[in-house]
Symmetry: C2
Subunit: 168 residues, 2 copies
């Protein structure tokens, strides 16, 4: 079946893991995503895809802002929390992790690999997901290597190919 082969195919690709957050009149929310990509450098623009049933989806639309927190390879526990794979005793996924506000007020990790704070400029529904396109208003740069998800496992970053590293 095409759907099953699609899920298998996407499982082969590698993606950086991010927690997308929002805050504002509709309240605070956050969700783990691997569907994030750069769109344009002029102006700096990114997009994320969020399932229409995720509470974060409604909140991003209502608040008009979101922050993409790209996780480092030691932050898989944060990924699990915001993916709903870990219990959150107090009921608040944001507990136990340090956050701050950048330009828009959406929660940014104090120690992300990268945080891209965005104003929502466009959204569209496609199948089960919303595509949120955001113009980057503020950026925080951390240190380290990204948390990668591929073949149904968290992974670190592989070593650079020698020839390509020299050419890059």
């Amino acid at each position: 079946m095409l759907r099953d082969r699609y899920l298998e195919a996407m499982g082969e690709a590698a993606a950086t893991v991010s927690v997308v957050t929002t805050d504002g009149p509709a309240g605070r929310a956050g969700v783990t995503v691997s569907a994030m990509c750069s769109v344009s450098a002029d102006p700096p623009t990114i997009l994320v895809c969020v399932h229409h049933l995720s509470p974060a989806c409604q909140a991003i639309r209502a608040n008009g802002v979101f922050c993409v927190n790209v996780l480092g390879d030691e932050q898989s526990a944060i990924s699990d929390t915001f993916a709903g794979r870990s219990p959150t005793p107090g009921g608040d996924k944001f507990d136990g992790t340090e956050w701050r506000a950048l330009a828009t007020g959406a929660p940014a990790l104090v120690d992300p690999l990268v945080a891209l704070d965005c104003r929502l400029v466009e959204h569209l529904r496609q199948g089960s997901h919303y595509i949120f396109i955001g113009e980057v208003a503020d950026i925080a740069l951390g240190n380290g290597a990204p948390l990668v998800y591929a073949k149904r496992a968290y992974r670190g970053l592989g070593s650079p190919f020698k020839a390509m590293a020299a050419a890059a």
Copy 2:
């Protein structure tokens, strides 16, 4: 400057490398992209972002079809060719690599990690790029590991974290 920090930030994230191709009345074209992500499994949908000045951009719009060829970790030469980083003596980037047609007729690698053959269902311009949203019409699944681009180098896939691999 925000633009420079944006480019630095996106360089930290890891992405799978793909060659997006098209064929039809507007002719054959292809370009290397790292901005590709899954959108929805119901129906199977993906998106890619292509610079508005790329010849592939006009061709995809006119042909209404595209194929995302996710590259394996031994296919960085194909990435270089379609990114314009390698000379193409005959002037045709498709020369020297084996292609076939899946459902739409857009060129699919005979030996990709994954090929996702799509019908264009939506496109929108955002800054310097077009976002092309495609419903998956056909899929070819290969073997191996993805070619990853991060921190300005081609890389293989990192090892799974032991604890997470067991849980995955």
